[in-house]
């Protein structure tokens, strides 16, 4: 197995252009499991850990740009308040040891429907920056995912970064799993509110072939949310919101849970997310 280890971003893109079949590896927390289990036998690995550009983050035109190689630990520590839902998801990934290595770029590269980064990226309206030797493009997260493990990223492209809009209101991420740590989500849900524009963004994880937005639920919440006072929803409105979120999901029965359970759990998470956002608006913490 060839091991390519460029130490610049330009070098990484050139290597990917020359060997499009080379499997990128950042933290290795997905790739190494596949190698150790013998599920994957690549001819070449493209190690990205020595590319300094990928480990950078910073503000950029109303967005926070997070390099694809920023570890979850770093993300929580450094970017936390600028991307609250993403940071909340990052805190819940796997275990501390894995968070010290694993990255958002790896989560997007693998594009598991259960990946924890996807719902917050969808809810916040983030962009995914893709780069190849031929150029750079930015794709809205809502257009990035095509199917389980499939995205619009071409073989010669790498994920360079995600761009998360600066928060304009409360953001929440929640997931359901059998225990707190080291669980792949049975379902997950993110909600991000833009208080000034009176808009809501949602993201659903682990309940469909791709991460999903619940657009009807977003429109409903934009109308029903008490933007000025942060009053709790009526039970009927909360139930309706939960139903709209659950209705947007396309879950299946699998080892982690049944489709029916997933719908039920999503509705519960959605109602709670509304209540938490309302409380934050009331508390003036926005």
């Amino acid at each position: 197995m060839d091991f390519l280890s460029p130490d610049t971003w330009a070098g990484a893109l050139a290597a990917k252009a020359a060997r499009p079949e080379a499997v990128p590896v950042m933290g290795g927390t997905d790739v190494m499991v596949e190698l150790n289990l013998g599920r994957r036998r690549p001819h070449a690995l493209l190690d990205l850990t020595r590319v300094p550009e990928l480990a950078r983050w910073g503000a950029e035109d109303g967005y926070t740009r997070v390099g694809a190689g920023v570890s979850y630990t770093r993300l929580v520590e450094r970017v936390g308040s600028r991307a609250p839902a993403l940071a909340a998801a990052a805190r819940s990934v796997a275990s501390p040891q894995i968070r010290n290595r694993g990255s958002v770029g790896g989560n997007l590269g693998g594009a598991s429907p259960a990946g924890d980064c996807h719902p917050p990226l969808l809810a916040a309206g983030a962009l995914v920056e893709l780069a190849s030797a031929a150029g750079v493009r930015r794709v809205p997260a809502s257009e990035f995912y095509l199917g389980p493990g499939r995205t619009v990223r071409r073989e010669d492209e790498l994920v360079a970064a995600v761009l998360v809009p600066e928060p304009r209101g409360p953001q929440v991420f929640a997931k359901v799993g059998p225990r707190n740590a080291m669980v792949i989500a049975v379902v997950s849900f993110a909600l991000a509110l833009d208080v000034a524009a009176r808009r809501a963004g949602t993201g659903i994880g682990s309940a469909g072939p791709t991460p999903l937005r619940a657009r009807a639920a977003e429109e409903f919440l934009a109308r029903e949310f008490d933007w000025a006072g942060g009053a709790d929803p009526s039970p009927e409105a909360a139930r309706r919101f939960g139903d709209l979120v659950a209705g947007a999901a396309r879950p299946i029965d699998d080892v982690r849970g049944s489709a029916a359970y997933r719908r039920h759990a999503l509705a519960v998470l959605a109602r709670r997310a509304w209540a938490r956002c309302a409380a934050e608006v009331r508390g003036g913490g926005v």
Binding site: V25, G28, V33, D47, S95, Q97, I98
Partner: protein, 191 residues
């Protein structure tokens, strides 16, 4: 394909030739005979292969040895200073924090890395949002310790002892830092 790499393990520099598929865990155990890190699962779930890699706790079964070229590795066996056990090791002894001992080297490395992370103000999923926004991680109570040690499993179920040992070591380290006694150096230079 093979690659020549350099690893500093518990203060000793090694040059070795590895297959590019070799994990850091296998390079340590099979090539260098460093058996403190254990192979419990080989896919990142049990934490028994935890070491400090350039000062951060990681699971070595998910790191390629080639990717670790030039790195500094500290295993549980390298934490002791000469004849003196590391305070975390002492605390594990004092609190009977193990039964068969298989998970212990990983637990101890993880705990040492965890105290550094907490001292640096890194929040955990158990830290209240407001406290973590202010970068203030108040106290490592049992809930914090359990959450922060959630990457290490113990099949003997010695968790009660493990949690109290870590709490005790945290207080000792804290007291030592407050009284100006230097903390034992963790990286490099010994042996």
């Amino acid at each position: 394909m093979h690659a020549d790499i350099t690893l500093t393990v518990d203060g000793r520099r090694h040059q070795l030739r590895v297959d590019t598929r070799t994990t850091l865990l296998d390079a340590l155990r099979e090539d260098l005979g460093v058996t403190a890190p254990k192979k419990g699962c080989d896919h990142g779930q049990c934490g028994s292969c935890t070491v400090l890699l350039n000062g951060r706790r990681v699971v070595t079964c998910l790191v390629l040895a080639v990717a670790g070229d030039g790195a500094e590795v500290v295993t549980a066996a390298g934490l002791a200073e000469g004849g003196d056990l590391h305070p975390m090791q002492e605390a594990f002894m004092d609190h009977d924090a193990f039964q068969c001992g298989y998970c212990t080297p990983g637990q101890i490395c993880s705990a040492v890395g965890m105290l550094d992370e907490a001292a640096a103000g890194w929040p955990s999923a158990a830290t209240p949002p407001r406290a973590s926004a202010e970068g203030a991680v108040a106290e490592l109570d049992d809930t914090e310790i359990r959450e922060r040690m959630s990457g290490n499993l113990c099949r003997c179920g010695a968790y009660a002892g493990i949690v109290s040992a870590i709490g005790d070591a945290a207080r000792r380290t804290h007291a030592a830092a407050a009284s100006g006694i230097p903390r034992p150096a963790r990286e490099g230079g010994r042996r």
